[in-house]
């Protein structure tokens, strides 16, 4: 089965050696066995270990890939990486096995009369370019779109942005990071005016408390969670899991506090109420470094097409803020959040104690939220009020889901409103981009167009007539695929899909372009802690597989923009990175030069005078602070961070008599997002072969549903049949069900709702109303 190890003879030899060792070991019982356990594993002396970041999550572990005779045969954690210190998770260890999948896309496929025809890659790229050109000619620039990924490498994102915004001149570029990180970005920009966390993973080594907000880190950020568990064991650091569902993380934590979906907004405000009313406010910090703002409320949920919203911030006084908090006494909040008054006060007391260092972690629970931006703001409020920010072991830390959601989507800016530096609405930023790209500045349009959800609505409406997706599988990952799948199948839109494996998205493509996978190309990723990591190509891709960046460049060349993309095929990654670095020159965002990234397991930006900046905004660590004070929130013009007045508002859809359950969706440790890679890895597929719906045992008992029995999850949008899971991996609260979304055969996103945060435009995958029927 494991044909990735092609040098069979040497492998068999090694296995023979291994079994001989096992036999020998059993014969000599006196021998100390730690050695023999190691000996069972064939010696890897003849392997060539190549450095890189892991392909999967935003933690960004350093990996070493063992290459033998041009094939990747083993993976181990990079001991020199400060992120993971040699440890990986089960996905990381087995990642290279997916490229040996038998259904690998090795050649371009063009749909002719309803079936796919194997086509030389050059002809396929010709077709894509001519189709794109013709569509622009017939329907205008805004009729073509590109949808990329937080798993795209930095060069891939950069050429996509340059191609769409600089060459063609349309802002029809968005990416799947809109589905996972947009609220985090909007949260950072509204509070600090500068994106990405101020702290780094080193915080784990000195924090006294880890408070995780709706974040199952044991499964989703396992390596960081191991680091936390290590601190828990060695230093008695405490982990507090604040969530809507009991998970592996809850069981490993010191305390698990459950809350009713959407009420995190209220609980966060109640914590602020306690901090303010118990005199736990760090007054000198707040006076010197914070402003108080309020924004618009009752924003809606973006459920209708062409929904528009723009927040109108206005300054308020501390007294007004204090008055606003009166609605959020622990007693009032406890009633609808189902968190006890005691627990709210407990949380507040931890944040409020000046002698305790606290790190807050969160990821999709807070970001995939119809008030995601607000929720991010509220947690920053807690840290700002107490001054627990930008110091080792103290700070809010927004974790990323994808390996380069930070590096590519956020820093390069593959969103409709973004440029590699700044936003399209800002003339100065447009001029800067135009200058580096060597294009006329008028060509970059000043108006953002479609964010992810709206982009696929536009495809459905027929406004977008050409779409090219790269490194992503939207027809599994979008919310309410029950609308967007038929939308993409319509004749009105020409669909180009670049991928490594066939997916439900490539199933509706007119042209499928075969992409090289991770280690088959060179690239750069940027992880959650602002660490940029480089890797060199390790093995050859099969057939006519081509790097995603190079395919974009080839199409651009064919459309007559060759002079803007003067890169060489062999060295384009380095040439592009060096060009891109010019955007971020300066103490606030300088990127490490390539030779540094090649010599070590990544570097954290701002990389100033040969040093990574681990804690931004803190004058002791960050050379960009220049206001002469201890802290400088230089993202904002007046150097002050913003404490936001953000109320509690209900979810877009709550359970009612007809649809009595909350539906929450998410991941499991074994599978990565839509499973197109991990399901092709035998170890991972065997461990979790299919999706399931988790029910609380009481609910299951009431409905007489047994473990493994098939049930139908039905919403107003669609339905999905899955086996029930009772008391297995996770335990939802009564009245809630949970479904992992990786399974393309059990499409739970047909059921989910495409409501999104009006500020960040990030959909809420965690809350909608469903009913459960025995299937």
């Amino acid at each position: 089965m494991y044909t990735s190890i092609t040098n069979r003879r040497s492998f068999i030899k090694k296995m023979a050696l291994a079994s001989a060792m096992t036999a020998a070991a059993t014969m000599f019982p006196g021998i100390i066995f730690a050695d023999e356990q190691e000996k069972n594993i064939p010696k890897d002396a003849d392997l060539d270990w190549k450095k890189g970041p892991c392909r999967f999550c935003g933690v960004g572990c350093g990996i070493l890939v063992g290459v033998e005779n041009g094939k990747a045969v083993a993976v181990k954690g990079d001991p020199s990486s400060s992120v993971n210190k040699g440890l990986l998770c089960v996905k990381g260890y087995h990642q290279i096995m997916c490229i040996a999948s038998k259904d690998r896309l090795t050649h371009a496929l063009v749909k002719k009369n309803g079936s796919y025809v194997k086509t030389p890659i050059n002809d396929a790229l010709d077709l894509v370019a001519s189709k794109m050109k013709q569509t622009i000619k017939n329907h205008g620039k805004d009729s073509v779109a590109m949808y990329t990924s937080g798993q795209s490498t930095i060069p891939e994102g950069y050429v996509a942005s340059k191609f769409m915004k600089g060459a063609i001149g349309t802002n029809n570029l968005d990416c799947n990071a809109r589905l996972c990180m947009a609220s985090a970005v909007a949260g950072f920009l509204t509070t600090f005016g500068a994106d990405e966390p101020m702290g780094c993973y080193e915080d784990i080594d000195s924090a006294d408390y880890f408070i995780t907000w709706g974040n199952n880190m044991a499964e989703m950020h396992p390596v960081l969670f191991s680091r936390m568990l290590e601190q828990k064991n060695r230093r008695d650091a405490k982990i507090i899991d604040f969530a809507t569902r009991t998970t592996r993380s809850s069981t490993a934590s010191n305390k698990s506090i459950l809350f009713e979906p959407q009420t995190d907004l209220a609980v966060a405000n109640a914590i602020c109420y306690e901090i303010v009313n118990n005199g736990w406010v760090n007054t000198s910090f707040v006076e010197e470094h914070c402003n108080f703002n309020k924004g618009l409320t009752k924003m809606g949920y973006g459920l209708e097409d062409n929904y528009k919203f723009k927040d109108k911030p206005s300054k308020i006084s501390f007294e007004e803020y204090k008055e606003f908090l009166e609605d959020y006494t622990p007693e009032k909040v406890s009633k609808y959040s189902k968190v006890s008054v005691k627990d709210i006060k407990y949380l507040a007391a931890i944040y409020g104690d000046p002698n305790k260092k606290v790190v807050s972690y969160w990821c999709m629970g807070m970001n995939q939220h119809t008030r995601g931006t607000w929720m991010n703001n509220l947690v920053y409020n807690i840290h700002l009020l107490t001054g627990k920010i930008s110091q080792p072991g103290n700070g809010p830390f927004s974790l990323t889901g994808q390996p380069s959601a930070c590096g590519t989507a956020r820093e390069v800016g593959t969103f409709t409103h973004k440029l590699p530096k700044g936003v399209v609405t800002n003339e100065k930023h447009r001029r800067k981009a135009a200058k580096i790209w060597k294009v006329p500045y008028e060509r970059i349009p000043s108006k953002p167009t479609y964010h992810a959800t709206e982009m696929f609505r536009a495809v459905d409406r027929g406004d977008i007539k050409f779409i090219w997706t790269q490194v992503t599988n939207p027809l599994v990952s979008l919310p309410k695929t029950s609308r967007y799948k038929p939308g993409m199948q319509k004749e009105s839109c020409f669909v180009v899909v670049s991928d490594v494996f066939p997916t439900p998205t490539s199933d509706v493509a007119d042209v499928i372009l075969p992409a090289t996978w991770h280690i088959e190309k060179s690239g750069l990723y940027g992880n959650s802690e602002r660490r940029t990591q480089h890797w060199d190509k390790m093995v050859e891709g099969p057939g006519e597989t081509t790097d995603d960046a190079w395919m974009t460049i080839e199409v651009a060349k064919r459309m007559g923009y060759g002079d803007l993309f003067p890169y060489s095929k062999e060295n384009h990654v380095e040439e592009i990175y060096n060009e891109y670095r010019q955007f971020h020159v300066g103490k606030k965002h300088n990127m490490a030069p390539l030779e540094v990234l090649k010599s070590q397991a990544g570097a954290i930006w701002p990389y100033v005078e040969g040093k990574s900046t681990q804690w931004r905004f803190n004058a002791a660590y960050d050379p960009a602070c220049d206001n002469g004070k201890d802290f400088h929130f230089y993202g904002k013009p007046d150097g002050k961070a913003v404490i936001w007045q953000r109320p509690y508002e209900p979810a877009a859809e709550s359970p009612d008599d007809e649809y009595p359950f909350w539906l929450n969706t998410g991941r499991v440790i074994e599978h990565w997002h839509t499973g197109s890679m991990t399901r092709r890895i035998p170890v991972l597929h065997k461990a979790v072969p299919h999706s399931y719906v988790e029910l609380h045992p009481e609910d299951a008992k009431k409905m007489k549903i047994k473990n493994g029995e098939k049930v139908k999850v039905v919403s107003r949008r669609g339905s999905c049949i899955l086996p029930a899971s009772v008391n297995e991996r996770g335990l939802p609260t009564i009245g809630q069900v949970f479904v992992p979304f990786f399974d393309e055969n059990m499409m739970i996103n047909d059921v989910t709702l495409d409501a999104f945060c009006p500020i960040s435009k990030e959909p809420d995958y965690k809350k909608c109303a469903v009913k459960i029927i025995k299937a």
Binding site: I5, A18, S19, T22, A25, T26, P29, G30, I32, F33, A34, E36, E38, N40, I41, D44, G66, V73, V75, K76, L88, V90, Y93, H94, M97, D103, Y116, P222, F225, S226, L229, N233, T246, T247, R248, T251, A252, L258, P502, D507, I669, E670, R679, V683, L684, H685, K686, A687, P689, H690, P697, E698, G708, P723, N727, R729, G730, L731, I734, N745
Partner: protein, 227 residues
């Protein structure tokens, strides 16, 4: 006369106070007699997940525990003591008192282990100390003879060193997890069979890297694609 009145008044006061206090305490007594009806405890426990961590407080001790080569258990003795892989082991030592319950006796040694001079061995640690009716499943072996011959086929136990998919990748779990969710109890410490004693017990979150090889659920469909 005055004196007498004073005494009567004092007694009247004491009596009044007695009545009041008695009355109050009587009513309090009544209140306490009321037992509030409690809602059934909502299950908030995830056995398959939480047990991985139940012994994690000992992880650092496990990491430092030296290997006592002379008294190590081996997988052979481990499986010899079971009717088939996954069967509850039988009790290999004599039990002096009968009618004892696990909590008072078995767990004394088998909850946390330790060296027992009498048996010249380290006590194996149970992965499920919350189940105290030990001898429901674990029985003595008092005779070597059989009532009638038996040709039961004993499945070959899973082998060590062949459960990893790639060179050096973390081995998969080759056995079922039911009642064996607590990895550290068998895979760490002096009583762990030497072949399966983990070199890194301090990592605690075992299933971050080690996943079950054959999950005991019915495969619904193979993961197949339409085209």
């Amino acid at each position: 006369m005055k004196k007498r009145l004073g005494i009567i008044f004092l007694f009247a006061l004491l009596f009044g106070a007695f009545i009041t206090i008695w009355n109050k305490s009587y009513h309090q007594g009544l209140e306490e007699a009321y037992i509030p009806i409690k809602k059934d405890n909502i299950i908030n426990e995830l056995p398959s997940e939480s047990k991985v961590f139940t012994r994690s407080k000992h992880a650092l001790n496990y990491a430092e525990m030296p290997v006592d080569a002379k008294y190590q258990r081996s997988l052979i003795t481990y499986y010899n003591n079971r009717a088939y892989p996954g069967a509850p082991p039988s009790i290999p030592h004599e039990i002096l008192q009968d009618g004892i319950v696990g909590g008072n006796s078995c767990l004394k040694c088998h909850e946390n282990g330790g060296f027992v001079i009498k048996y010249n061995a380290y006590t194996p640690v149970t992965p499920h100390p919350e189940m105290t009716n030990c001898r429901q499943c674990h029985v003595e072996s008092r005779t070597k003879t059989l009532f009638k011959g038996n040709s039961f086929y004993k499945k070959t136990p899973p082998k060590v060193g062949i459960n990893n998919a790639l060179l050096g990748s973390p081995p998969m779990i080759p056995h079922a997890l039911q009642m064996r969710e607590n990895c550290l109890s068998c895979h760490a410490g002096s009583s762990a069979p030497k072949e399966i004693r983990v070199s890194h017990p301090e990592r605690v979150n075992c299933r971050q890297c080690h996943v079950p090889k054959d999950k005991e659920i019915k495969d619904l469909d193979l993961f197949t694609r339409a085209n």
